[in-house]
Structures are given as C-alpha cells and as structure tokens.
C-alpha cells in the first residue's frame, strides 16, 4: 500500500496494485469460483409473436392507436401513454441504417482481422428511429454509411428457429436517402 503524501485531497492513494503477471504467477492468495447461473425467461405474448414471425420470414410490429405509433420490436403496452397496444402490423424487411460501427473486437474483446459491421436498422413502415440492432453484410467497411438503404437477408426457412438470428444480416438495397 502506498501512503505517499500529497498536497490537497485525496492526501494519499490507499490500495495495492496487482499486475496480471502476479496473478498468473500466484504471487497473491486468491479464491476462484465458477458460478452456474442459468435462466429461462418467459417471452410473453409480444415477443413470442415477434419470434414466430421471424421464423416465418416476417417482421411484426404493433400499433399504439393512442400515440399513432408502430412499435417494433413489439410489446403489449406503449411506454409513452402506458396504454395497451392492439393491432399487429407486418412490416417490410427493408429500412435504412440509423447508425453503425465497424468492430475489430469479438464478444470476448479479442481482436479480429475481418471487422464485423453492426448497427441499428431503422425499419420502413415504422416511425423514424424505430428498429433493432443487426449485422450488415455484402458491403465493405468503406461503403457503409448512415442513411444507406438496406434489406434483410434471411436464413433458409428450414434453418430458422424463431430468433433474431433468423435474419443473417442486412444488405444494400440500392440507393441512399
């Protein structure tokens, strides 16, 4: 622990720095634990219907009539008016890129050579800025830009399971806004 004095507050910086190598070389006593933590979340009506739709190659939204807003992903209530949503709407599988990133990191924060193109799709037929996150493909990192028109590329029907990954990615649909 460093107790070096400093003018002003904090007057010292309590704490003992440990390096990664100290851990690997077991220079300090430590405990290890691998918890086993599993869930099975109930999906509820809206999300069940949405995932069944994806399995069938369809994107479902739901209409809040009080706000006149199509919610996608759908939910059974509208967070703005706190009222129920009612009418199911099938949306086209096209949209524009709301925002994106070019990722050189995989899920465990390790570096990868071929970057992942990922972002938010603002779906056609839904209000501005309404959509979901997905991958982009069939375009290079130099071509991708905000506002680009895109279209879903679906997995073959027999490979779909009722998941957001039933869409492989969104590809350029030609033209930009």
């Amino acid at each position: 622990m460093s107790n070096e004095k400093y003018e002003g507050m904090p007057p010292y910086a309590p704490g003992t720095h440990v390096r990664e190598s100290d851990i690997q070389n077991k220079k300090l006593a430590y405990a290890w634990w691998e918890p086993e933590i599993q869930y099975s979340w109930s999906l509820g009506h809206a999300m069940s219907k949405f995932l069944m739709g994806l399995k069938a190659g369809k994107i479902f939204g739901i209409h809040c009539k009080r706000c006149d807003r199509i919610l996608v992903p759908p939910r059974m209530f509208c967070e703005h008016c706190f009222g129920p949503t009612e009418e199911w709407v099938e949306l086209p599988d096209t949209g524009i890129i709301e925002t994106f990133s070019i990722s050189y990191l995989d899920p465990d924060a390790r570096r990868i050579e071929d970057p992942i193109l990922v972002g938010v799709v603002d779906l056609d037929g839904a209000p501005p800025h309404h959509g979901f996150m997905h991958y982009f493909g069939e375009m290079s990192k130099d071509e991708i830009k905000i506002g680009m028109k895109v279209k879903a590329v679906w997995k073959p029907e027999n490979e779909r399971t009722g998941s957001i990954t039933d869409i492989k990615y969104f590809k350029p649909a030609g033209g930009a806004d």
């Binding site: 460093s2 070096e4 400093y6 003018e7 002003g8 507050m9 904090p10 007057p11 010292y12 910086a13 309590p14 704490g15 003992t16 720095h17 440990v18 390096r19 990664e20 851990i23 300090l28 634990w33 918890p35 869930y39 979340w41 999906l43 999300m47 995932l51 919610l71 996608v72 992903p73 939910r75 967070e79 709301e98 925002t99 994106f100 990133s101 070019i102 990722s103 050189y104 990191l105 995989d106 899920p107 465990d108 924060a109 970057p115 990922v118 972002g119 938010v120 501005p128 800025h129 309404h130 959509g131 979901f132 996150m133 997905h134 991958y135 990192k141 905000i146 998941s163 957001i164 990954t165």
Partner: protein, 388 residues
C-alpha cells in the same frame, strides 16, 4: 426539507487489479472520508452503498457482502443502483436520507471491483444486453458506444480529431491526481488518433479503462454542520431521469434524459444560465465523446458545439468553463460506481479549495457532477455550491 452539507470525502487508488477485497477498499475510502470530516463510525446515522453490477465483483447481493467494510454493521444500510449512473446516484440517495430529516449524518460509499470478473469485465457486460433481441448477436459493449458516437458525429458533422481533444485534456488533467490510472502529461491528439481501432469510431484511447476502486462521501444536515467543519458546502440541486429500455427506438444523437435530469437539478438550484452560473462541471466521460454528449445534455452548450469548445480550450482547467478538472474517467479510471471519486468527491474538494494541483482557479462557487448509466438511458446529476 433540510439543507444538506458535505463534510468529508475519500477515495482509493484506481487500478485494473487491486489486492484489497471490495470490503477492504470500502473501508479505506470510508476511513479517509471520516478522517477529513473528523468523525467516527458512532456519529453516522445511516449508510448508503452505491455499487454497480453484481456480475463485476462476482457476488450476488453485493450490497450485503460489502456492508461491514462500508461501516454498515448495526446501522440502517441500503444500496441503490442504476448502472453507471450509480456514481452520482448514491450521493443523491445520501442527500434524501438527510434532506428528509430521517438521518442527521449519512455516509455514502461507492465500490467496484471489475478485476474480479475473469478474464475480462467484458464477460459481465455481455449480460447487460436484452437477452432475446441483442444477446443472440453476441454483442460487445464497445459497439453500443461506437453506434452512439457515430450517430452523434454524423448528425452534427463532427470530426474524430475534435473529440480526441477531450481524451487528451482529461488524461493530462489526471496528472494532478494521486489515484489516477492513466494520467499522461505528454499525450497528444495524434496518439489518440493512432491508437488501436476497437470498433470504429472508437479507438483504445477514446475509452476509459476498467478499474478496481472505492470512494466515500459524508453528508450532514445544516442543523449539525457547525459541529464538524467551518466549510459550508451544500447540495444545491439533484436530478435523475431514465429513458426507455428500447434504445433502438430513439435517436441517439441527443440524450433527452440528461437534459431532463439537468433541468430538474437546475430548477432546484435556481440556476437559469448553467454555463455562466456553474464554475466548473464533472460530466461523465467513460468515452471522450460522452463528455461532449453530456455537456450538450446538461445544457452547458448548444447541440453539436461541445467538441468545438474542447478544441478551443474553453473546457481546460483554466478555461472559461473547466470540464473534468479531476482527469475524469478517461484519466483517473472507471470503476463504475466508484467514479463518485472523480465526480462528487472532486466537486466537493474543488469547492472547498482542497484539490491541490488540480484546483480550478478563481475560487469556484458552484459545481456540477453527473453520471450516466444503464443502456444509454439513465442520467444522474448533483450540484454542490458554497453557502453560508
């Protein structure tokens, strides 16, 4: 309502791994705060713990686990939580414990031990995403910020170089901080621009590091403040606000929830012209663009104007509106909730004139601290000011 004063603060070293347990870190930070306030555990009425995801420390009901280190044994002790916003939210909770008249003296402790999650805190961050819509895409946390940063830059036509100025400023400011993890007196914009690309537009030096650390803050009622100190530093305003979980259903270029939280705090503090009336501010800066984004949300400048202010030096410690004089998260480190140390503890030390080499000039009268959390949806704001 009781007026609430701040009488002591403390914080530990911030590093990627610290040898101390979370309990011990909480103890060390609290000890420093008690020493500054000149009080003992028996003087404390209630304790608030602020600590972010259990999945970092790797302990379920982490608040309960930490409580003996945070002086909570035998006392009313509770934990509040809203992700990254906790660093300023825990002090807000401390404020209402005293302002409501329920406690005279309330200790607030914030702790985080991100190093416990092995091999990288990133593993815990995977579980902040929606399990049905997002997690099947195996997202990385940095994506979230990259997407928001891109939207912000594109809407306003902002250059990466201007945003990099923020990282440079904060890492240089941190040189005056004994607890700092990533202080660098010689860093330049080129260094930031040339650092490793993580997820465009986010580069390694745009990001604050994960850290272990703890901080503590002591509040007391105005009725009893004379017993402890001659300083008169009061909570002038508090605000917090949350936006929808559905982050893909809103335009990310501007944080409405930050503006709502700021307006709530300004109203309470009677502030009508924030950039003029605030002597300095400590907005949340886990990424360099976030400082800009939050300055705009806090109504400290026009939308899209913050990077210009950074480039022109307005936000330097000796500028017209010093921003993150502590060194912020980018320079001092980012142990999520324990960033209370660079936010509210720093605002208190600055107003008390105790910030040493980091002291903002010209006798600051009013300062703001802000944090941000959850999935780009939560803002917490607290304003401290000198009083009589």
């Amino acid at each position: 309502m009781k007026e609430v004063a701040v009488i002591g603060a403390g914080m530990t070293l911030f590093r990627r791994h610290l040898k101390e347990t979370g309990k011990e870190l909480s103890y060390l930070a609290t000890k420093m705060a008690l020493e500054e306030a000149g009080i003992e555990k028996k003087d404390i009425d209630m304790v608030v713990m602020g600590t972010a995801p259990d999945a970092f420390d790797g302990t379920h009901m982490k608040g309960e686990y930490l409580l003996d280190g945070a002086a909570g044994v035998g006392l009313p002790y509770c934990r509040v939580f809203n992700g990254g916003g906790t660093g300023v939210f825990a002090p807000i909770a401390g404020w209402w414990h005293v302002a409501s008249g329920v406690a005279d003296v309330c200790l607030v402790v914030a702790e985080e031990k991100m190093g416990n999650c092995y091999p990288h805190p990133q593993t815990a961050f995977q579980h902040i995403w929606d399990p049905i819509l997002d997690r099947p895409l195996t997202p990385n946390l940095v994506w979230l910020f990259a997407m928001e940063m891109n939207r912000y830059m594109t809407v306003h036509g902002i250059k990466e170089e201007d945003i990099a100025e923020v990282a440079v400023k904060n890492k240089r400011n941190a040189v005056g901080h004994p607890c700092a993890q990533l202080a660098d007196p010689n860093i330049t914009v080129e260094d930031v621009m040339n650092s490793e690309m993580m997820a465009w537009p986010v580069k390694r030096l745009d990001i604050s590091p994960p850290s272990d650390g703890a901080a503590a803050l002591i509040f007391c009622s105005k009725d009893v403040v004379h017993k402890y100190t001659d300083d008169r530093i009061f909570v002038k305003g508090v605000g917090w606000n949350i936006d929808s979980t559905m982050w893909t259903n809103r335009d990310l270029y501007f944080p409405d929830y930050v503006a709502n939280a700021a307006k709530m705090a300004y109203k309470k503090a009677g502030i009508t012209n924030p950039p003029k009336e605030l002597s300095f501010a400590e907005p949340y800066d886990p990424f360099d663009y976030k400082e800009c984004h939050h300055m705009e949300g806090l109504l400290l400048c026009e939308k899209g104007e913050a990077p210009t202010l950074a480039r022109e030096g307005v936000t330097q410690r000796d500028g017209d509106l010093p921003i993150c004089p502590s060194g912020g998260l980018l320079g001092v480190g980012n142990p999520i909730a324990a960033t209370m140390g660079q936010k509210m503890c720093e605002v208190y030390w600055q107003l008390a004139g105790k910030a040493g080499k980091r002291q903002v000039p010209n006798d600051p009268q009013m300062g703001l601290g802000q944090a941000w959390g959850d999935i780009m949806q939560m803002a917490t704001v607290m304003i401290l000011g000198r009083g009589s």
